[in-house]
Amino acid sequence: MSSSPVSEFRERGIRILPIDPLLLLAVLGLTAASLYVVGTATQDDIPGDPNYYLVRQAGYAGVGLVLMLIISRFDYSRWREWKTGIYGLMIVSILLVSAIGFSARGSKRAIEFGFINFQASELGKLLLILSLSAFVVDRMRRLGDRDTTSRIILLTLFPAMLVITQPDLGSGLVYIAIALAVLFVAGTKWTHFAGLGALAVAAVLLVLVVAPAAGVEVLKPYQVDRLTAFLNPTNNPAKEGYQINQSLTAIGSGGKTGRGNEATQTRLDFLPEHHTDFIFSVVGEELGFVGAAIVLSLFALLIWRALRILTMAKNLYGALIAGGITAMVMFQVFVNVGMTIGIMPITGVPLPLVSYGGSSVLVTFMALGVLQSIYARARETAYAKGL
């Protein structure tokens, strides 16, 4: 292959690889929104250090941007060769966190590394995309086999179950969404999806209805309460319904243009988790419909570019990765935003790039770096072909 124009290009050391400017714009816009909202929402959270969260989030974003650029220069196809190692790393890190991680509000999710609390389940999202896509590419000729679909699903369910038992239900669901997206983009038959759908319905019934009736606790009661509270938040305004009600009040009170410094729902702590899971409620309260619409538009731009890159990818592996990353971002945006506006259950999923949190921010930047890498290789190939 040394005669191909691509390797020639590479060998000559000309490394001015292109980058998708619109995707970059969306990322920078969301980062700016995140810094503004995290900064204002947490002014009074740490007494004596009003910028505690802002400084850290800015640090994560800075490191994330650098990581993104580095990864985007790296040929993503290499990841395919290391698929087994990547998958293994994911499983080991998740187990490690479960074994020695510290508890945050009753769930063991992170290991502290000085500046950052490393959340294996976050990094796992990207590792799963890279490894799962590789496995699917390997079995591309037998994609129609039920066996292929089952294997991919089992490879996903294993880490998903591990993080759900941490317990981190949200990340587990993200894994499943990623797997479905990768299979979907690869071209798995509709009948397989129908079968999976039936299984999922059966599993939900088993977990929420049958098992509790039989006295087996699969989900912790608080998880069940959180999942079902959005259906009727006024039922229990003091507990699970409280978060949803406060979030609705925050967003609603923002009105058309927001309350700015008068955003009392956030500033007076009525809105729980206002810098992490409920950051979108802060956007809604402080910046109003206009601000929320701008943030959502940036996400729409990001998703559009991700799908565009999917179609441009020079090979199937790139397309599958792009599909996985698109699914990861889309699922988290819709579940998180849906939760804050009361149309989705509370699952503890962060809003990508906007929610405060080192692991989530860094992993999202890394994923976007991979996406940029796919874009760069696609443009490079097209250029080499003289297109």
Binding site: V137, A250, K256, L268, F270, F289, A319, A327
Partner: protein, 622 residues
């Protein structure tokens, strides 16, 4: 090195379709979110904004002190004193029962209360009003309050509230007049007149505190504060100052009131008195003994203490005998018998009747007190010496004359058997015995005999079934002295601001006309004057050396198996009386023995007479 199946040079239609589906899903999801946001923020924004403000703004009630009550000279009879109350704040109260029990135990130790007692006190309050504080204990000493404030960690949920408690500078003096304050009752809660009173607020429950509550009651202030999610005060927003209630000026004269109660307390300790301006009905003193300390009500009174105050064995201190005590009035009733006889034409002021010492009617012989025979006498003389036989004859004749109801008719005109209409709640009408009343009882087998002439004979000298109180007697006597007006006694004089400037005069309602000839009234008044001044007058000895000319009538009411009840009603100064004083001591014996000296003491206070010594009783004459 790349596997063949990784080649995908062009976009297949299948992939294009699937990407389109993903894009479509995203589009639909974004659309749903946008519509939902539009609904929440643009369409319902105002509602949620109001909700957000509800969240952060708490209104803390600032209790308004009640208005003071002052006497006719502006001396404070009832005012307020600030005090500390230990309360529980629901926002900060631990949610779990176990933690609350710990708090109750700690508080119990600090306040020397049993934890169980605290729970019983507090939980119903919290249930009734989930967002306002529940009082654990009123009137806590300052040191304890400060200790609690400085050790908030140990007493999380407990707080100290500054409240105003009613303060009575003169203790038991006037307790029955002022009445008590207490938390709004369930009935008051439903009463529209209490619509602006907050639950748990103290309002007047008896006495003028109840009668004039709408003036005395202040308007609570409110302090609006911004709180955070934990209920911690974030910053004050606005404060509406509480407005103290209006000051109420009573017609009562503190010196007269004191003299009356002290005089009564010096007797057998059970009795009542009423002092009134005969012309306008202004009450200068009205008291009942035994009395009580009204301040125990302002802190909230225990059930057992309340029962004790109502127990007749303790003298039922809560009863206001001056307007609720139903007593036979003895000879003080003769004023009414005389009026009825004169107006019925049975006698003139100069008609002479014989008093042989006893009178027999229906086979029953009625004797003069002490068995004395007064011989031939006319009305003035009969009143002066208080001849029973003279009035027995009138009572007997009134029973058979015309419809036989002239005595009852005139007694009613004088206000016997009906409310005087005083501005004090709880007044009882007493009982004016009539043939109809007794015969109805007899038909129901509640009594052993129907009405007979003996009943009227008894009534003519204020014995038997008659029940009246000192206030009624004062009103009746005033009518003789003021030109024939049955006045309505008044305690409330005017409503003032806190500096004593009049805001509203409390108008006395028009008096009823008695409709009695002036010369008859004069004859009776002269007879009463004789009784207090002429030789042989029943109370002449009592008023010996008294600088004010007094007209008055003694009364000795008999009770079966109990000591006699002593009465005295005085009008002064003769011949143009301005005041009437009615006194009774439930077990004081002869009227001249105890009640008349009490009346003298009250009159001395009324006319500022300095008495060298207390006057003793005037001997067994009635």
């Amino acid at each position: 090195m790349y596997l063949d199946n990784d080649r995908r040079p062009t976009l297949t239609p299948q992939l294009a379709a699937r990407v389109a589906i993903i894009g479509g899903v995203a589009l639909v999801a974004f659309a749903v979110i946008f519509f939902r946001l539009w609904y929440l923020q643009v369409l319902s924004g105002d509602r949620y904004l109001a909700e957000a403000n509800d969240n952060r703004v708490r209104e803390i009630k600032v209790q308004a002190p009640r208005g003071d009550i002052v006497d006719r000279n502006g001396r404070a009879l009832v005012d307020n004193r600030p005090s500390m109350a230990v309360v529980l704040t629901p926002d900060k109260l631990p949610k779990s029962t176990a933690e609350r029990e710990v708090l109750y135990r700690h508080l119990g130790k600090l306040l020397s209360l049993r934890p169980r007692a605290i729970r019983k006190e507090v939980e119903p309050q919290l249930k009734a009003l989930p967002y306002s504080t529940a009082t654990v204990k009123q009137d806590v000493p300052d040191q304890i309050a400060y200790y609690l404030l400085e050790h908030q960690d140990e007493y999380r949920g407990a707080d100290v509230e500054r409240v105003f408690l009613r303060h009575y500078p003169f203790g038991q003096i006037g307790a029955h007049l002022f009445g008590t304050v207490g938390e709004m009752t369930a009935e008051q809660e439903k009463d529209p007149r209490y619509h602006d009173v907050a639950l748990g607020d103290r309002v007047g429950q008896t006495g003028v505190e109840l009668q004039y509550d709408r003036f005395l009651r202040g308007r609570n202030g409110a302090s609006r504060v911004q709180v955070d999610a934990l209920g911690n005060l974030n910053r004050p927003l606005r404060r509406r100052e509480p407005k103290q209630g209006r000051q109420l000026r009573l017609s009562v004269d503190l010196d007269v009131q004191k003299a009356g109660q002290e005089a009564l307390a010096g007797g057998t300790g059970r009795g009542a008195f009423a002092v009134m301006d005969v012309h306008n009905g202004e009450v200068l003193g009205l008291g009942s003994e035994p009395s009580f300390d009204p301040s125990i009500f302002s802190k909230g009174i225990s059930k057992s203490k309340f029962a004790q105050l109502q127990d007749i064995d303790n003298g039922a201190p809560l009863a206001n005998r001056a307007i609720q005590g139903g007593y036979p009035t003895g000879s003080t009733f003769k004023l009414i018998t005389a009026s009825a006889a004169l107006e019925s034409g049975l006698i003139t002021p100069d008609t002479v009747l014989n008093d042989p010492g006893s009178y027999t009617v229906g086979g029953v012989t009625f004797n003069n007190a002490g068995g004395v025979a007064h011989g031939a006498l006319a009305l003035r003389q009969a009143l002066t010496v208080s001849s029973d036989v003279f009035f027995y004859q009138l009572g007997d004749q009134l029973n058979s004359n015309g419809d036989g109801l002239a005595l009852q008719h005139w007694a009613r005109r004088f206000g016997i058997g009906r409310d005087t209409g005083i501005d004090l709640p709880g007044e009882l009408p007493g009982l004016l015995p009539t043939p109809k009343w007794r015969n109805a009882l007899y038909d129901k087998h509640d009594t052993d005999r129907p009405w007979g002439p003996g009943d009227n004979v008894n009534l003519s000298v204020g014995q038997g079934d008659l029940r009246a109180d000192p206030m009624q007697m004062a009103v009746a006597y005033a009518a003789i002295a003021n030109g024939g007006h049955v006045v309505r006694p008044r305690l409330g004089q005017r409503i003032e601001d806190s500096s004593g400037r009049a805001l509203q005069q409390l108008e006395a309602p028009a008096a009823r006309r008695l409709g009695m000839k002036p010369e008859y009234r004069q004859a009776i008044l002269d007879g009463l004057r004789g009784a207090a001044s002429e030789p042989g007058g029943t109370s002449t000895a009592v008023f010996d050396g008294f600088p004010i000319q007094v007209a008055g009538k003694t009364g000795t009411a008999e009770h079966l198996g109990r000591p006699d009840q002593s009465w005295y009603v005085a009008l002064a100064p003769y011949p143009n009386p301005k005041y009437v004083v009615a006194v009774t001591d439930e077990a004081g014996g002869f009227g001249a023995d105890t009640a008349a000296p009490m009346a003298r003491r009250i009159l001395a206070a009324l006319f500022n007479v300095k008495e060298a010594r207390l006057v003793q009783g005037g001997g067994p004459s009635d």
